[in-house]
Amino acid sequence: MSLQDHETAIVALLRFGLPQTLKLIGVCVILALAIGIALGIIRSFRIPVVDHILGAYAMICRGVPVMVILLFVYSSLFLGTPYWTAVATLTFSESAYVMEIVKGGLWSIDKGQWEAADSLALPKTYTLFKIIIPQVFLITLPALFGQLVLLVKGTSVASTVGVIELTKQGQFLLSSYSQPIVIYGYVLLIFFILCHTLTSISDRLEKNIRRKILGEGHE
């Protein structure tokens, strides 16, 4: 491969692969957060039958490979395009993880806080929005970022049902330049930049949150 070829390959990946990967990530993050937070709040109430159903849902997502879910959605549910197949699959599995994270965050808040707010005669909605939710948000943020990194990596599996994202674009390039190490190397590099950026942000946030909750000098 000449220098020109390297440039062409990188440009192709960034122009035709990356936007689709980012679109997948964006749509799935919004959907998974909305669904996951809603289900997490429902789970925190521990409603008998509902809780079992949601627990089973979480268990399926933890125990069954994304690949199998993806193939099932792709060939059994007919959602039209490969893109929506991937969105449905990734949202389905990420929502479960977000649900568990949110549930854990809500459980970690001591009941005493509600009682304390009550004894100060604070209204319930005020307590929820000004005291409980900010804490849950801070506690769950690092875990949610970790999940986001997993989602970014998970989008590569969408290539197997024909979504033309980074990985698939890499496969296309292999037909013109038979240099798998170089081409996939670039794909790895772009993914790494994406994930590493997120991890760095998450690390910094975690430090700040520790300081916020525990006070100075607890890093």
Binding site: G63, V64, F72, K153, T167, Y184, L188, C195
Partner: protein, 221 residues
Amino acid sequence: MSFKLYVLEATLPQFIAGTLVTLQYTLVAVVLAIIWGILIGSLTYKRIPVLSRLCRWYVTFFRETPLLVQIYVIFYGLPQLNLLLSAATCGVMALVLNDGAFIAEIIRGGLQSIETGQLDAAASLGFSPLQTWQYFLLPQAWKKVTESIIGMISIILKDTSLLALITIVELTAVAQKVNAQRFEPTTAFLTAGTLYLLMFLCLEGIKKLVMRRRRYEPTGS
């Protein structure tokens, strides 16, 4: 779009064979990934000038890139370097490099959670650094991270499903094959999913048992 029992009956032997292949790969990958993870994790903990930094870079890179692309690089890339390995070797190699990086991070965390006073104590009793690692650090770290390691086993189990993409006929590939032969995707993939779930539940059960036994063991702290 419905589950057909007669299809399952006809294809059950294939599914069982696929499950066994999946278990084989999981077992080999788990054993090697744990050994690899302990090695790399200990090296990053020890702070050896150049080596530790290299290990750290390796761990970071492999944890923050997709396993699927790693599998492709190894499977399609190595022949380019005149390294002709079987799909099985490539698959196991990818799993070990990827999940070993995660295990290394877990092991390092376990090692770092041990008070440094123990190092001084061991040194003052005349133990060499290697003996200290072997008799004091590793056993304690291992105890602390057992649960996470068993969690990693179920992640490796799920990861083996990607090996279907490099011609390895494990459970997911069997489901694809059954689907192609009989056009019964629902039956094929629900069966595969259920089998994965059963294996996962077995692992969860093992985790519970191990952790329960742990509770009755005397601990140092």
